[in-house]
Symmetry: C2
Subunit: 130 residues, 2 copies
DNA sequence: TTCCTTGCAAATCGTTTGCATAATG
DNA sequence: CATTATGCAAACGATTTGCAAGGAA
């Protein structure tokens, strides 16, 4: 499955790289369309799936009903604000803090894990007149 | 919002309590319908949402496109098999192993986290003729 | 009688897909 | 020319919702 150049895919990658807020497919679509008004939603979905499969971007399934995408594929965690729904990166003192697979009494083989943190973001903490 | 008795809701709770495999709404529907052929999918969804909101059951967003439900609301982790898609409970040596929120350089307030483990279940490990 | 709950069907939402056309190598 | 990618619209699967009727307090 050789990859051929496509302007659309480049625009999608570029957009994703300059965003730190983990946009959804629809947000990618709406923004890329500003630069290429003819692009279709289907193309955006296809390319996001393709890039995810190739490991060039990361798909975040945050459980809010719609997938988010992150051009930063380095190991890091994500925080989701329960109030405003924003998604932020979390920096930890080494990812080693995360539960050790060995401590699990499990007969199968664990090859990966996914962790998300939830709470109130800094902004929403301040406007606490909830 | 005072809660009134409903046979349908009881059936749903009963079914969920006797299952350890974290069924989806549709599976709940199909099974409860055996006892109450008139129940509708909408009612199942409404009650699952209601019970989730009240904390009587847990909703699992595993990222496989459909939500799963768990009557066991005690703290424990879940494992999802990448091959057969089954969902299993994980027992750890105390949940304390999980990343300490204090180790996060984060200005907001973290109130919860969600962790899922992925890999091959025991069954699928054996039938390794993948 | 009040109002929570239901069954049913239509509606929504996010995402995928078929197909004919356009662009790349 | 062979192949991959695109735009468009229709199709999809999961979940939600409006509404009139039913059941519980």
């Amino acid at each position: 499955m050789a990859l051929k150049y496509s302007r659309q895919r480049e625009l999608i990658k570029d957009f994703l790289r300059e965003r730190r807020d983990h946009p959804t497919a629809d947000i990618v679509y709406r923004n890329v369309r500003l630069l290429n008004p003819n692009i279709s939603l289907g193309t955006v979905y296809r390319n996001l799936a393709l890039l995810t499969d190739r490991g060039e971007i990361r798909r975040l399934r945050l459980g809010d009903g719609t997938d988010h995408f992150d051009a930063d594929i380095s190991p890091h965690y994500h925080f989701i604000c329960n109030k405003c729904g924003c998604v932020q990166d979390l920096q930890m003192d080494g990812m080693a803090d995360i539960p050790d697979v060995d401590s699990l009494h499990f007969k199968g083989k664990i090859t990966g894990r996914m962790t998300y943190f939830y709470g109130l973001c800094e902004q929403c903490c301040q406007n606490s007149g909830d």
